[in-house]
Each structure stands twice: as structure tokens, then as C-alpha cells.
Symmetry: none
Subunit: 415 residues, 2 copies
Amino acid sequence: MHQPKAEIIAVGTELLLGQIANTNAQWISQQLALYGINIYHHTVVGDNLNRVVGAFSDAHSRSDIIIVTGGLGPTEDDLTREAFQQLSKLDMVEHKPSMDKIELFFREHKVVMTPNNRRQARVFTDSIVLDNKVGMAPGMIVSYDNRKWVFLPGVPREMMSLVTNDVLPYLLQLVGNKAIIKSEVLRFIGIGESILEHEIKDIIHGQSNPTIAPLATDSGVIIRLTARADSSEDAIRLIEESKQEILSKIGNFFYGTEQQTLEQQIVDKLRVSNKRLALAESLTGGMATSKLVSVSGASDVLRGGIVCYDPKVKEGVLGVSSKTIAAFGTVSEECAIEMATNVCLVLDADIGISFTGVAGPNESEGKPVGMVYIAVCTRDGHQQVEEFRFQGDRDTIRNRAVLKGLEILFNLLKS
Amino acid sequence: MHQPKAEIIAVGTELLLGQIANTNAQWISQQLALYGINIYHHTVVGDNLNRVVGAFSDAHSRSDIIIVTGGLGPTEDDLTREAFQQLSKLDMVEHKPSMDKIELFFREHKVVMTPNNRRQARVFTDSIVLDNKVGMAPGMIVSYDNRKWVFLPGVPREMMSLVTNDVLPYLLQLVGNKAIIKSEVLRFIGIGESILEHEIKDIIHGQSNPTIAPLATDSGVIIRLTARADSSEDAIRLIEESKQEILSKIGNFFYGTEQQTLEQQIVDKLRVSNKRLALAESLTGGMATSKLVSVSGASDVLRGGIVCYDPKVKEGVLGVSSKTIAAFGTVSEECAIEMATNVCLVLDADIGISFTGVAGPNESEGKPVGMVYIAVCTRDGHQQVEEFRFQGDRDTIRNRAVLKGLEILFNLLKS
């Protein structure tokens, strides 16, 4: 299939009510655009059989590849299969591996399976059944009347997993995509998007292959490099050249590529240097520790953490001196340093990091909302503490504090 | 126009490339839903004349009100007017007030106006021209062949301003809407979407006012009730009646309304009963504590937590007996109970909750990925522990464990 026309149909009344935005269509479009497959329409239609059949029929008349999200679940509102059957007259059968999985789920959760759950295991005969590794309803690819119909669950996590593992490889083979596209994401922390863009302005404007696309995210700024070439080697070389040019300007702020996270890098660097980490968290309340625990293998390097939300816990469990708290308050350089030093001792770690501050909405101990101290202390005597003033609401302040703490840890470990 | 069919068409290739999500359609849908105007389709089409004409023609054949966003700007890619002209054969004229405004803008900004900017001032004869107070291109409402066509710029700020000030008042008058709309969200935990629907199937099918719309979310299932009536009192009464009927069936799983979170409810109930909470987290790594800290005012009832990720921390800081760990492992009922009991003592709390389990990706101590124990112990001797088998990747398992733990806490506190 050369230069096929593709389109995306989302089925779900919740989209027409505006309860959610159609981010599924956006994400799928991004993936396909990267591989040169053109999308010509997005459609949203509600959970109404006639209208879904209508949308499917329109799509069938104009597109070669039709990707449908949603409407595969267990309830009577989930009508995607019925609508496609009405259009195609294809038969459905119960897919035993999917049904086994559904039954297992209910057994393990000790919940009685209601009969409507069987609906999810029905697939069209001769379809390619896509195993849903993070949910219940399987995906399907159906060849019908020279079109390829791809059916995916509407839950974003499930849809993304199926697109990445099954649908994209299938479509790339189908369209015989021979231009090689390679893409790499560079991740930066400690530098804002506008300054980053300013620093590499000449590089961005001086070339078009690879494309250089900066984007601000919740965990720092990323740059996506996308190169096209006739061979994999050429594409990789083009990306590598641009990457080196960019890093020569802003390499100080670089921390990783692709899906690498700051917490992953920290865990890796701790493992290499054979150091154990412990955390003492007040306003962040366990969020920093939880981020590190999200890294598979964190157990090798992470002792644990103490959430000393109550001042009495700071004293009683962490052993922050009552004199320090009386003289400087819990939101102070002095308290932060004692927290970091003591958590090292209490949890038998090599490096301790502490967070104390005012998340809001009200000021505390006469300190303003957003004031945060982060300290890092090591068993061999290194001590550092910094004061920050973060803007935003309670959650934003806590998130920014955690990100800044991870940045400080990373910079310490890479030096 | 009574009970008209409405739809929304977004024009712009950037949407089909996934550079942005169609949040305009979401927002407009929310506004219209609130006033009982039903949207039956969302469509996105790129900046291509034939395809835009095709999308307009489809819409014209099935809807009474068609709202178009985007494609009104100054560049040659902006084809919305041309496409509608091709469909309707209506004439366009230059709208003098709009042209004056555009010229003024360029004079004030001391920029030479390129001729293509005149394109933005063209309007259909006999259309209602909507003054764009935050941008250049005016909006338009065109009556054609018994349909109402509403043309709006794609920039969200401009679109929202026009919808709020001009389009909504126009449409409400058009549909003769005098009805008052009230809506309430009910939140449930511990019951899946399919079982919930099964339980209240008769209620859902037995009535249409209020509408009853269940939706699965990351923090349980919600039901949105939306009632229409001639007076505010009547709408509230209709919602209250449905709510009571629903709660009589599944009230056990109800935890709050509107934006109330489970963690908020837990903090409130702890405050009312004057109890202090402490957490011991292994696989969840501080995530449960952090959720509770996200509630403003948590400091009144939350002592803190210990993230005992390393077995040595379970022993050393929490005082879990080495015999227990040797005999049953850290992923066991016995360890969970000791963690919950001891964290109460160590942090001087009234209630302790613990999480221990295998987040994956690999099994641990011979226990499978997803096996999790959650225990709750109180100072006055209450003890409970449950085993779970959660599905999914590392993050999903951790998230589900935290949600389940909050559910257990809530159920304990409400009883």
C-alpha cells in the first residue's frame, strides 16, 4: 500500500460532552506523522449505533487505513463491534485467550464477573487479535474490502501500548516505508525553554535535517531531533552531528536521552558509585522518594525515606534538635541540614537529601508560601543547602521542589 | 428550533499532525452540553479545499447547527470561507469595521500590512458579524438552507471570547432554551464500571431526566447527573431524588461529590474523629503519604511516614522483627501487620497503614509481580490485612495499591 490515506475515529459520548479531549487522536497522529503516514480526518461520534455506522461508512468510502478508538468495553454503550459488523457483515467469535484473561482477572480480584464482560472477548473472524497487555479488551486489525480497520480501546494507556507494540510495526510494513526516520530526544534540566532556544537559535535556523524541536515539559525542557535518510547509518550520523553541536552549547544542562528520567539517571549513578541514598521529606511528603522508587532496581541504592510532616517526627524520629527548631523554625537552612545529615545516619545511607518548606495555601512560621529549603549531606562531610521561592499552588510548589531536589542530586552525582 | 442537532468542525492540518489536541471542540461541547444543546459529531479536517468542502457538505446533510473553528486567518492555507462559499454559493464582501481594525493594528505596531491580511475582513453577505475583541479575524453566523453556520477563529482565546459573548446567547435564544440545567458528580470507589452499571441498570434505563452518565477514572468510577427543569429548585430536587435512588443501591461505594477526593475525605474524617495517621510504605515508596500531604491542612492529622524500601529499614527503623522477615519474607501478611503496628508507635499515631508487595518488573522473594499486602492497625487494637493481586506495569501496580489503601482507610473511618 503506497501513500495510503488514513483517518482516526473516536467513539464515545464523553468526548461529545466535552468531559475529555480527544488526545488519543493527537497522540496517534504524532506517531504516524513521524513515519510519513498521512492522516486526513479525525472524527468523534457518540455511543449511538446508527451514527457510529454512519461514521464508519463515511470513513470506508474515503480512506485506506481506519483507526478506531473506544467502544470496545463491557457495557451496552460499547458499540464499536456491532457497528462494524453492520457495515462489513463479518462474523464475530469469542476469543478464548482474551476470555481466559478476563475470567482470571475477576477470579483474582475475588469479584463475580457480570455477563456483560464476555462482550469484550468477541473478535472478528480472521482478524489479527492484539493482546492488550495493560487492560482487558483486546485490539484488532481487520482486513475488509481492501481497507485495514484497526480497533483499539479508548483508555489512553491501553491504546498507546497497542499502537507502539503492534499497530505501528504492522503499518510500517504495510506501507513499505523505506525512507529511514530516526528520532532522538535530548533532555535538559535547570534551563528554561526560552533561554535554551536563544542559546541554540543559530543551530535551529541553520539546518532542516534533522529537525530540532524544543518543548517544555513538567520534567525540564526536551529537544526532539528527527532525521530522514536513505540508510539507518546516515540518519544516526545526522542526529549525532546535531546532538554534538547542541551539547557544545548547552551540555551543562543535559541529563539524558529518550525516556530516561532524572530519577533513572540518579539511581544509575548511585549504583555505579556504590552509594546508598535516604530522603527526609516535609512539604514534599514522600513524593521525591516515590519518584525514585518508580525506577525499577531502585532497591539496590535506595534505603528509604522519612516523611517528617509533623515537627514532632522531625525531632523524635529524625533527631532534629529542638533548639534548632525553636531558634530557626522547621523551614530553615539549619533544619534542612540536620534533616539531611540525620536521615543518613538513621537509615544508614551515604547521601541524605531533605526538603522543608511552605506548600501553602497559608504561610507557616512566618515564612511565605513557596519558600523551600533543600539540603544534601553526605557521610563523608559534604554539605550543601539552598533556598528557593517557588510560584504556584500547593501541588505545583511541591512538584517544583521535588524536581529541583532531583536536579541537585544529579549534579552532585555527575561531578 | 427545537432540539437541534449540532456538530463541530475544526479546520487545520496542525491538528491532523498531532501538534495540538482539539481542545476547542471539548470546550465548546462543555458549554453547549450545559445548556442542553446536543453535539453529535466532532470532525477535524486539514487545510485542503476539497476535503474541507467535503466535511462541510457532510455536516450540512445531517445537522442544524454547524460550528466551525479555524481557517479564518490571513494565509493561503486559511480556506474556511472559500470552502463554505463553494458549498453555499453565497457572496462575500469586505467588512469595513473589521478592515479598519486590521489596518489600525498594523499602523499602531508600525508594521507594513501585507495584502493577504485583507482576506480576514471578508464576510458573507447577510451574515451576523461577530466582533473579535481579542484578535483580528471576525466571527460570523450565517443562515443558509435552514441551517445555522457559526464560523470562529481557531485561536482558543479568541474562540472562547466569541462563544461566551455572542454565540451562546444567540443559540440559547434560537433554541428557546428557558430551562435551568443543574449537574452533580457522584464519586465511587471499590466498584468497577461494569458492575456499577449492572447494579443501577434499571435506574439508568428507567428515566431520562436527570441523565445518568457513569465514567471510569483513575480514582474510581464517577456518575454525572444532569437535570433540566423550569426552576432551579426543581432541577435540584430531580438530582436529589436520583441520587438517593442510586445511593440506595450502591451507597456502600460512595465517597463524595464534585471535586472531592478520597484523600480529602480521609483527612476530614481523621480531623473529625481526632485521630493521627502514620504510614509505612515499601513498594508504594511514599506515594500514599504524598497523596495525603497534597490535601491542604493535612498537617493537623498526618504524623508522617516511613518509606522502608530496604528490608534493613523495616528492621532498623520500623522494628519489624528479623524472625518475621526470615520466616515469612517482607511481602507477607505478617510483615504488613508489624509495619502498620510499629509505624503507629514510632510516629506516635492512632492509626497506621502499611503497604508491602512486588511492583515488578521481576518477582521478589519468590512472590509474583503484583502481589501486595495492605494492613491497617490502630492503637486500640484493631487489625486488618488483605492480600491483592494487581495487574499492570510497575507504576500501575503502585498506583492501584495506593488507591486500594486509601479505599480501605476511608471505609474504616466512615464506619
